[in-house]
Each structure stands twice: as structure tokens, then as C-alpha cells.
Amino acid sequence: MRDKKIYIALSLILSIFFVTSPIEASNKFRRRGDDRLQQVTENDVKAEIEFGKILAAKILGRYRLYDNKKANEYVNLVGQSLVRYCSRPELEFHFAIIDTDTINAFTAPGGYIFITTGSLKRMSNEAELAAVLAHEIAHVTEKHIVKELNIKGTDDSAVSTMSGMIKSMAGGGSLEVAFLELAERGAKMLFEEGIKREDEFQADRHGLLLASQVGYQPSALRHYLFVVKKARQGEKSGSIAKTHPQFNERIKRLVKIEKDNGLGSVRGKTLERRFKANIKI
């Protein structure tokens, strides 16, 4: 009888081990992958900022800066409120409004974030503004463009895109040309192709959690996407519909994230009056 109990106990323990150890091994593998991506040096961050500055200048080359100090300062205050809780304290974030009816927002690596007057016109409160800015901040914190273009501080890396481009240039290839070419690719990604679908979903997830952490109404991004979905017909090039995934899918996923994180019952701030006092477009 005693032997039988020992056998049962032993079988149970070994079963649990063999069932869970592949999961643990898989998790460890993922962590190693994440670690590899997160092993960033100060030079990598400096390169990211430098690259982001060129890309930000290209955004401002395409769209005019909205000339309203009060509105721009307000957008900065909302943005900086979110930045306090973001996972990249080493970056100096900059926020600005660009003057176009296009409904969209743009992000350049290093912390440059732009929102259009077309987007602001369709927002009804500060929580919606915070939700969109938080989504854009997530593109920076998760380094979506940096990873896509493989921006690094040193250029002799075997895996660096920049290094590969230089090698492929027959004679006369230079680092300057390679860096400029990458900035062109980044601009094309922002203006024409959009960021990867999965990266957009990840930005929605992180953005929702970030804005909620600061105290904004969790459902704000969902509500804003619903409004934009209705308004998007008749949109011209550069619109959010062109560079972002389908709204229905995004809204569906946001509902699940809210539920999974206990946000369904949270009543955050919307601050409609403050938004309307500062944004008069």
C-alpha cells in the first residue's frame, strides 16, 4: 500500500515536470530573445535619437506645424503626463500638432510624436487625446521602427541593416548614404506602408495600459476608433485607414485587453472641459 502511494506521488511529480518543463524552456527561450533585443547600449540609443530627428524633420517637411502655442503646450503636457509611466526614461519626448485634415498620428524613433489637427477635430475629450498619444509612445518604447530598420549605434555589426547596405554598394558606398537611405525607408514606412500590423496591435495594448495607469478612461481609445471608423470614408492619402489595421479587429482586441486587466469596471478621467478649453480647431 505504502509502495503504491510512493509510485503514485512519483508519477504525479514526473508528469507535472515533463508537462511543464517544455513550457518553461519555451518561456526561457523567449526571454533570451527579448534579452538579445533589449541589450542596448548608450550608443544604440544615441543612434536611435539621431535617426528619429531626421525622420521627424521629414514629417515636418510633409506636414506644416500647427502654429498655436497654447494647443501645442497642452498636447505636450498630456504627452509628458504619460511619459512619466513609460518604459524608456532615457528618452526626451517631444509632442506637436501638425496642420492637416488627415486623421492620423506619426511617430519617429527617439521620442518625436505628432498628431494631426484632423484627429484633434474628431476627439471629444482629453482621455481620447491621451489614448492616441499613448499608442504613439508605445511605438517608441517598443522600438517598432528601430527594430524594423535595425538601427544600431555601431555599424560593423554582422546583423546591422546599415552594415549590409554598405557592403552591397559596389564601390563608393558610404555610411552617410546608408543612414540617409534608412531615413528614406523610414519615411516611406510612415507615409505609405504603415507599421506592421502586429506592431500596431502591440501599440494599442501598451497604449491602453499606459493611459489607464495615468488615470484616463480605459475605453477612450476604443471610443475614438469607433468615431474615426465612421469618419474615415472620403479620407485622402496618409489617412489612418491606410497605415493602420482594420478598426473592427482593433476594437475587438481592446475590449479583450480591458477585460483581461480588470479595466472594465474602472472609471477613469475624461477631462472634456479642459480639452475643449485648449483645443479650438
Binding site: E50, A56, R88, G171, E176, F179, L209, V266
Partner: protein, 159 residues
């Protein structure tokens, strides 16, 4: 024999589950909750740079420990590396392009020079997508002190 086998199995398995990984708080502060939910009660608040150990992850939450008290921290407020200090952009260098262009770049200095020159060319409009650096300078000039941000947060009833 059976006992030896039994205790060997336990000794073999335990280290796998007893190990805890380290994470660091990146946000200005990170509330630690009594369950993995934003609506849960905050047990204590960790500060930027605080080192936490965790041995379980559930969705977007890590189960961490402070003395004898366990609590959940949101994964997007932490990272596996300590937070870096503020990093500013590169200082420009005077390395000439003609000297650095035809050799394989092997140092950060040449890379920095190349980036500076790339910006210079972008400023001159020698690219497909035009750049506007004067407006970018204005964007970078928007700033306000911490007290104004605190006032803004307090007035809005935000964290």
C-alpha cells in the same frame, strides 16, 4: 531504491521552480497590486530603479515579492535592465566624409560623423522626402518645468 528515486526526482525538479528572475522599475512609480488587475488594491508602490524579483508571470503582470508580501506589477512598467539616465543626441564631429566614405566603418566616431553629414544633406533637401529642421527646432523648444506638470496632473486628478 524507490526512496532514492523519489528524492532525486524532487531535487531535480525544485531548482527549476525555485529560481526567480530580476526586473527593474522603469516608470516614475509602479503600484504593486494584490491581484493581476488594475482595479485591484494597491499593496505598495515601487519607485523608478527599484529591483524586484519575480517567479511567475500571468498575462501582462509579474508576481513579485517584498519581504513576506507578494504582489502583482504591470509588465509594461518594468524591464529586465536597470533604467538608463537621460541620453541626449550626438555631438557633431569633424571627421570628413571623403576620409571615412571608402573604408569599412569600424568605430562609433565615424558613424556619428556620417549621421551628422546625413542630417546636413537632408537639411539641403537632397532626398525624396523633404525635411524641415527649422520647425523641428521649434518642436524641441517646447518645454516646461516639473512644477507645471505636477499642477496639470493635480488639476486633472491624474496619477
Amino acid at each position: 531504491m524507490k526512496k532514492v528515486l523519489f528524492f532525486s526526482a524532487i531535487l531535480f525538479i525544485l531548482p527549476t521552480y525555485a529560481s526567480a528572475a530580476t526586473i527593474y522599475v522603469q516608470s516614475v512609480k509602479a503600484p504593486v497590486k494584490d491581484s493581476p488587475s488594475f482595479s485591484a488594491k494597491t499593496l505598495w508602490t515601487a519607485q523608478r530603479g527599484d529591483r524586484l524579483n519575480y517567479n511567475k508571470k500571468k498575462g501582462d503582470w509579474y508576481l513579485t515579492k517584498n519581504g513576506h508580501q507578494k504582489g502583482w506589477v504591470s509588465s509594461f512598467l518594468v524591464s529586465d535592465q536597470p533604467p538608463m539616465g537621460k541620453i541626449s543626441r550626438l555631438a557633431k564631429t569633424n571627421v570628413s566624409l571623403s576620409r571615412s566614405a571608402r573604408r569599412r566603418p569600424s568605430s562609433y566616431t565615424t558613424a556619428a560623423a556620417a549621421r551628422g553629414l546625413a542630417e546636413e544633406r537632408a537639411r539641403k533637401g537632397q532626398t525624396r522626402y523633404r525635411a524641415n529642421y527649422s520647425d523641428l527646432d521649434r518642436v524641441e523648444s517646447y518645454s516646461f518645468d516639473e512644477s507645471r506638470l505636477s499642477k496639470f496632473l493635480n488639476e486633472g486628478g491624474l496619477q
